[in-house]
Amino acid sequence: MKNLLKKKTTRTDFLTYLGVIVAFVIMFALQQADMLKNSTQGMLVPVCCFVVMAVSLNLTVGILGELSLGHAGFMSVGAFSGIIAAMSLEQSIPSDLARLIIAIVVGAICAAIAGFIVGVPVLRLQGDYLAIVTLAFGEIIKELINCLIVGYDENGLHVMFNLSGKLSVENLNMTENGVAIIKGAQGAVGVDKLATFPMGFVLVMLCLVIVLNLVRSRTGRAILSIRDNRIAAESVGINVTKYRLMAFVISAAMAGSAGALFGLNYSTLSSTRFDFNTSILVLVYVVLGGLGNIWGSIIAAVVLYVLPEALREFNDYRMLVYAIVLILVMLATNNDQFKAMLGRILPKRRKGAAANG
């Protein structure tokens, strides 16, 4: 054990786990003791969802090295399939927890399938072309779900695509006991709020275990080698397509599970929630946290999800301040002059950084 912890990557991984566990224990204890503000309490589950999103996107962008601008699409697939699963099983499985787990698994599987369908063509491309195609797929998923009408009655699921825009829930021809689950443009309405903070924590931990173990495994080294030099990796016999697809699908599946949790946290959800801006938002978490840096993604996701809420006092200037903070942080972390200036102002920090690095 001691030897194991000497290795720097292992130490970082353990610290990441530890940090997440400690944060959860503190927040959970505060929640149980009813000492949290309502606003903080309301953000616990979505923060978990976006942490998972950031970790999963980091797998694509940071570890696989491919820019994806449509990650919210997979979240959307996971959210809506999870909602369908949870709501259609309402009669047969009374336990909330069981339904939540099933919903998350279904969400992950559906998103993985979507990831595979998208991944096969997309991963033939490179760089910015790949980025624009992921953006395109994200938008296509959004519009397709926007046309989806789903209902459930004792005869099973009724699914319909409202391509002409002229259909509504009535066209599903459900029996009297039928429940409309997704009403086209309106999205899912009347969703049971099954999501819980402990489940969010479990999901975060699960994703961490998957990603961290993947990265430190033989597979992970293959993926990293593809990121660093695809041609060299190919020349030593690594199956580039297989590993790229594998990373992409795992990333999509995790996004799907996060989506399912997110969807079941609110009583309504519309597909426009998962638009290009949401994809970009998650990308910002990943870039700000550091490419390939898992714990950086976690912290960035938490801080940046909370930031707009924390800026509520600024009223109209809220998003303007957010934008300025974003630009300044990017400048501060990527410009050498700026960094040198910061170093002069904060000599202590520089020493600390030197000791760390």
Binding site: R124, L125, C147, N334
Partner: protein, 291 residues
């Protein structure tokens, strides 16, 4: 048949606007190798400036356009200098996120300056030309003409002028260009200036065709134009033109004959197919990776 012609004309007109925006995108991309997501918001600023010039100052349309061009050019150069220039050595993703920050900033600043309510933009060129059953709005003719002129002038400029040559040199190899005595930073700033001036023209034409203006007016056309630029082969000027026109026509036809709910999806699906067949876009140069 007349319906088909009407759809075609509206598609070409829409495509011309996309093409002008895509020209700005593609120029900046070709030289700075960055996706300037704030480009769409510069369009919005151009729209607001010309709106204010016409609505509050009672200036004629052409003067308002010139004013918008001046403001946007300055804005483009300032954005480049403050936000992008310090990141010249940084990774592409850092620049991308900064561009997104700039985009948020412009949208929210516009909201604070001009308010949240939508403005109705009076077309700089109202009226239409009726040819049999086919009606062609004058603004469509103007848009298409403007697009063609801009494309020809820009091609000549890039190929013939000294600055154009410098731009091409920078786009090929910045280091070598610098060694040849080209002021790389100034060249990039000039590219942003030209791109932003085009954005201002696009803003006036876009708002004239679609008559509304709000702080997020530029975002969707921006994304579409980006798609158009990639479609035609990003970095290529004729490619941006072709991509824009095709995108507009496909969108219009998809809306008319397939499904208006999925019009955007169809556009994006065509893009995906094209990229799978030609990974560098229609007119893009495919550069094989050197080992």
């Amino acid at each position: 048949m007349t319906e088909f012609l009407n759809y075609l004309i509206s598609g070409i007109s829409l495509g011309s606007v996309y093409a002008i925006i895509a020209l700005g995108y593609t120029m900046v991309y070709g030289i700075a190798k960055m996706l300037n997501f704030a480009h769409g918001d510069v369009i919005m600023v151009g729209g607001y400036v010309s709106f204010c010039a016409v609505f509050y100052l009672d200036l004629p349309g052409w003067l308002a356009t010139i004013l918008a061009i001046i403001v946007c050019t300055v804005l483009g150069v300032v954005i480049e200098g403050l936000a992008y220039k310090p990141l010249r050595q940084a990774g592409t993703l850092a620049v991308l996120i900064t561009a997104i920050g700039v985009s948020y900033f412009l949208q929210n600043a516009a909201q604070l300056i001009w308010g949240t309510s939508t403005k109705s933009y009076a077309s700089v060129m109202p009226g239409n030309l009726a040819l049999g059953g086919v009606t062609i709005p004058y603004i469509s003719i103007l848009t298409i003409a403007a697009c063609l002129i801009i494309m020809v002038v820009l091609t000549q400029f890039i190929n013939r002028s000294k600055l154009g040559k410098a731009m091409r040199a920078c786009s090929e190899d910045k280091g070598a260009a610098q060694l040849m005595g080209i002021h790389v930073n100034r060249t990039i700033s000039m590219t942003f200036a030209i791109g932003s001036a085009l954005a201002a023209i696009a803003g006036v034409l876009l708002c004239s065709s679609y008559t509304t203006l709000n702080p997020t007016t530029g975002s969707m056309p921006g994304i579409k134009a980006f798609t158009a630029a990639v479609f035609g082969g990003i970095g290529s000027i004729p490619g941006a033109f072709l991509g824009g026109i095709l995108l507009g026509v496909i969108e219009s036809m998809a809306k008319a004959y397939l499904s208006s709910a999925l019009a955007n999806s169809i556009v994006f699906a065509v893009l995906i197919i094209v990229l799978l067949v030609r990974p560098a876009g229609l007119l893009g140069k495919y550069v094989p990776e050197k080992v």
